[in-house]
Symmetry: C2
Subunit: 355 residues, 2 copies
């Protein structure tokens, strides 16, 4: 167990790193942020920051020597970065093989299938010529996504029919891709859960998510999903966490079909936007839970004290902060980002409803 | 209203500054700590830190130029420091006259009396020769306290009879003092409340406090006090806040006598140890409330979601952190202090009980 007073290393300086850093501080840890740009939201609440490239071996080694454990706020950390840190003696949690799996949409789907978690039908796309036969096989409409580096609806586009193939291929820049059948879902949910070093597992209540333009807009708890489906989603997440020998907070997004069947959509090996409400409404937030897990501590209770609705503040929506701050029914959380950009996650509000 | 992205200046680097800084970050503020020593708990979660003496005019002016508002985590900030900051254009909240009143036990008691808040009988002590007549007048047992700079039972000693006068005078170092009659109280409570720039006022539920060796040990909510007494305590606190044109979180500790009468014991013009439970159990913590108030924002709701018991971890008690971390009924908060010293406040645990 990493004792209080130790230093937690976090790769990435965005809002997830910031919220992890705030939670680590509450447990008595120092935080060292490693980011490839200066003045990030996370570095402004951390004891130390290293600003260096992801492949800067000297900087990574110095960082590894300063911290007791390393975690990350985004899954696109280069595998080589994690490898250098591990070789320099800093345990990386979740582990490097999890990172590799989550970085490639096809590897991820094949892994999920291997542990009995169903996904939407898909086909690998290496060249434009692969798309037409794949579309014929899985059926339209489908979504073409880059295999790697996508998030928040970036690097993906919809294909309604074969006449849209060329445009779609151009849209994603002709990168190695995956074609996924559009799931005829009734709604979307996510499981936010944690697994400890000793294999302990704890899930939060299921999140009901509503996306807009590929970006999470609202998360509501309790979800509208029936208990049996919720239990199945948690059980699949548990199987995934065990199979990866996972340590930390893990999120799996699922489509719920009209008949209640589940299809895993995406896995995030980190704290997740759909779990932000836990900070306002749970005894242990997802951020504290993640820090507890990677530090080798016992997981905290995931008990929820209120019904909640979390809404993202995207881009210029944050300019209404004064209204949110004055609303007695919501808790406002802002990320300290310097520039407002279209669709950028600037903060969130959590509405709490007494049960 | 100070908008998110602005910088909040905090004088002092201890655990109260740290918890204020964490709350300010959640509202999107940067924090600049000013402290007279390096590597403090607060500076490790702040964007910037100035390490300089309280009378370093150049450092204070540079600090004032960098921040949108200044507040403090302890009331013994020199009056001259606040004056320099104010003259350099940084509003100091709460205001300088509040600071002056709270720094002197006699000024404080006279002020409280002036707004109709009763205190225990007292007498000013300028020299050892003043003690015997004062003791005869107010009656033994009494407590001799330095007028200035006391906290957590420091700078004070009990006098049971006139034969203890010389020793008591020596114990407090012969400093200007106050002799206070020991109140025959049934129990002790505190009011944690906030007043906004617009005069808005909001109190948290009354805290029932148990001290050991002059240091707060446990705070429980709800208190065991009858509603009429609680209302009177809040009403007195409201009168005090209005009279001071107070901005921020204010704490008044009261003795509750067996007949339910109240005597104000001490006033703290800042967030207070007996309000730490608000972070675990309220929609708005006392730390966020203070930041909201000094930033000119509307006060947040003080709604409490659970019954609570907050226990301080003093000195070596923190070494049992592993047990507290593993207890599903408590939330652990550690302050990141480097050295364990006898009686030093190292952290606290808040036990939450569903109502």
């Amino acid at each position: 167990m990493l004792p209080p007073g130790s230093t937690v290393g976090i790769l990435g300086g965005g809002q997830l790193g910031r919220m992890l850093a705030l939670a680590a501080a509450r447990l008595g840890f120092d935080v060292h942020i490693y980011a490839d740009e200066a003045d990030t939201p996370a570095s402004r609440v951390a004891a130390r920051t290293t600003v260096a490239a992801w492949d800067d071996e000297a900087a990574l080694k110095a960082f590894a020597a300063d911290v007791g454990v390393v975690t990350f706020e985004f899954e696109n950390v280069p595998a080589r970065t994690a490898q250098i840190l591990g070789q320099a003696g800093a345990p990386v949690r979740p582990n490097a093989s999890t990172l590799a799996t989550a970085q490639d949409r096809i590897d991820e789907k094949m892994f999920l299938a291997s542990v009995g978690v169903p996904t939407t039908p898909f086909a690998p796309i290496a060249a434009e010529a692969d798309i037409a036969p794949a579309l014929a096989q899985i059926g339209a409409p489908a979504i073409l996504k880059t295999r790697r580096m996508g998030y928040d609806g970036k690097g993906q586009t919809r294909i309604a029919g074969s006449d849209e193939i060329a445009a779609a291929w151009a849209t994603i820049g002709g990168a190695p891709a995956i074609l996924e059948k559009v799931a005829p879902f009734a709604h979307e949910i996510s499981v936010i859960a944690a697994r400890g070093i000793d294999g302990d597992f704890a899930a939060y209540d299921i999140c009901h998510n509503v996306h807009e333009h590929g970006i999470l807009h609202v998360t509501r708890i309790p979800s509208i999903t029936v208990p049996a489906t919720e239990r199945a989603a948690v059980s699949m997440t548990h199987a995934v966490a065990d199979a990866l020998d996972y340590v930390g907070v893990l999120c799996i997004e699922f489509f719920v079909l009209p008949d209640g069947a589940l299809l895993a959509n995406e896995m995030a090996p980190r704290v997740h936007n759909s779990g932000h409400w836990t900070e306002a409404a749970c005894l242990t937030s997802q951020f504290e839970q993640h820090i507890r897990a990677i530090a080798g501590w016992r997981l905290g209770p995931t008990t929820r004290l209120a019904d909640v609705e979390m809404t993202n503040l995207l881009g210029a929506e944050v300019e209404a902060w004064e209204n949110f701050a004055a609303d007695p029914d919501v808790r406002l959380h802002l990320y300290g980002k310097r520039d407002v950009r279209d669709g950028r996650k600037m903060g969130h509000v959590t509405k709490l409803m007494r049960r």
